[in-house]
Amino acid sequence: METHQWMINYTRQTEWIDRRGIFLWIAFYTGGLGGGLYLVSLYFNSLWGMLISWLIIAVIKGGTHLAYLGKPTRFWRIVTRPQTSWLARGFIFVMLFVIFGAIQLVLTYWQPGSAAEIVFKALGGIMAFAVALYTGIILKNMKGVPFWNSALLPILFVLCGILGGFGLSVAIALAGGDVNLSAAEMGSRILLVANALVIIIYLLQADHRETVGRQSVIEQLRGHSAPIFWIGIVALGIVIPLTIAFTSLYTEIASGLIIFGVACEIIGGLALRYNVLKVGAYKPLVAKPQ
């Protein structure tokens, strides 16, 4: 530790992104993606979509979360403090989603249209939404990191998840799955535009949240995280899929290209979470008088 360099200036949050922190990044993203896909799949009543979203959350999100823990065998302790901890709540959302989702998948397969199926679809949907939402709330509540202190963050995370959900739905449709392709494409278009708008508003707002919030924005637009922002979030996450999506309004597009667009969307979503975690910096512990 070199004292003078520490905590006086811009100090990034590292625990949840650097090194093993990448597990947490993937977990955060797949929560949004899985939750979003489940909700979209409910809309399309796509069993494939629901199954995939269940797998994403149960296997990838659950797995990466577990892999991230310092003491994985104690994971069950996480449920014990939902009164105050959003992580405990999130863990419960995930558990409930996995249980409700599993029942729902079974019911949808064996007893489609039954009252029970509808009830569990509703329960699964609520949990899917909660799973997509809670990580945003966790970050929003972090007192020391101004860049995250925005009610827009959970909204952004949910929208981004739903966007990914529509993207995967498109892929499912192209693979011959039970999804209406043009509706999925339309959803993608709307969400892409909405997402882009929220990102712009978010950055504009963060720019005014204390010096450190501004530094986080600068870091993202011009600093070390800029390549990820401009290539990952802007180009891959918005511009390319949006171009493909709007071009497809007017002309026939090869399905390979559409799949490429979906892949770009997913990468864009990952890039977004990555940067949000990466540029989250603490207010200096001791304010340096100017």
Binding site: H4, W16, G70, T80, N141, M142
Partner: protein, 241 residues
């Protein structure tokens, strides 16, 4: 009762004794410091060199307690925020949530020993027995709760009796650290906070830290007397020889 600490910025001389004493007291793994020094130098018209000896603030309204999903982090009745290492799952939520960055996750690479790959020293071996650290959990300053508990059990007073006082406070050669009960208006810490306008770091977080800082000038110079031209006495002074 609420244990608190006052750090006097006009006294701290950046000697790092507090860190060293803590490492010994708690057999800290090589990569970890519970207290830390934040050094700051400013230029300008009223330049200052300040060192903030920081450690867990034991906030009354502690974000870490709130976010801990397992209840491993708890607040004791005396205000100390404690971690039950056996309950911690190592999710690092508290590490990120502490706005003062005072928590550290003990990862394997932070526990490589003093001389990694060469020897494990006798002191480290003794430490493994005397003070357990668990890789994969989160750590922070506990105001030497062990000393406080053992001391108060003997009827000693933390902040007054050395045996019941945190190690960093005891060792500070500059006497920049003062410990005591914030709830007792007659304690040294309460007196310093009220007399010297003690302040907490980032009060806007509404966490109500139990660590206060004070600052001030050294000496009570009466500069007026000096700035007024003294009476000139130029008459020759007879000197012996």
């Amino acid at each position: 009762m609420r244990w608190g600490m006052v750090v006097d910025l006009s006294k701290c001389v950046r000697c790092y004794a507090c860190l060293a004493a803590c490492r010994i007291e708690h057999f800290l793994p090589m990569g970890i410091n519970w207290p830390k020094l934040v050094a700051m130098d400013t230029g300008g018209d009223d330049p200052t060199v300040s060192t903030y000896s920081v450690r867990c603030n034991q906030c009354k309204d502690a974000p870490c307690v709130e976010v801990c999903p397992t209840g491993a982090t708890q607040q004791r009745e005396d205000g100390i925020v404690s971690i039950d290492q056996d309950k911690c799952v190592g999710c690092r939520y508290c590490v990120v949530a502490c706005p003062y960055q005072n928590r550290t996750f003990l990862s394997k690479d932070k526990d490589q020993g003093f001389f990694p790959g060469i020897i494990q020293t006798d002191f480290e071996k003794a430490g493994k027995k005397l003070y357990k650290h668990q890789v994969g959990t989160t750590e922070k300053c506990n105001f030497c709760a062990e000393r406080i508990d053992a001391g108060t059990a003997k009827g000693l007073k933390p902040g007054v009796d050395r045996e019941a006082t945190p190690a960093c406070v005891n060792t500070c050669p500059a006497r920049a650290l003062t410990f005591g009960d914030l709830d007792d208006p007659n304690s040294e810490v309460s007196r310093l906070i009220s007399e010297k306008k003690g302040f907490q770091l980032h009060p806007e977080y509404n966490t109500d830290p139990s660590v206060y800082f004070i600052d001030g000038k050294i000496g009570q110079s009466d500069e007026k007397k000096v700035d007024d031209e003294p009476q000139k006495e130029l008459k020759a002074i007879g000197v012996g020889d």
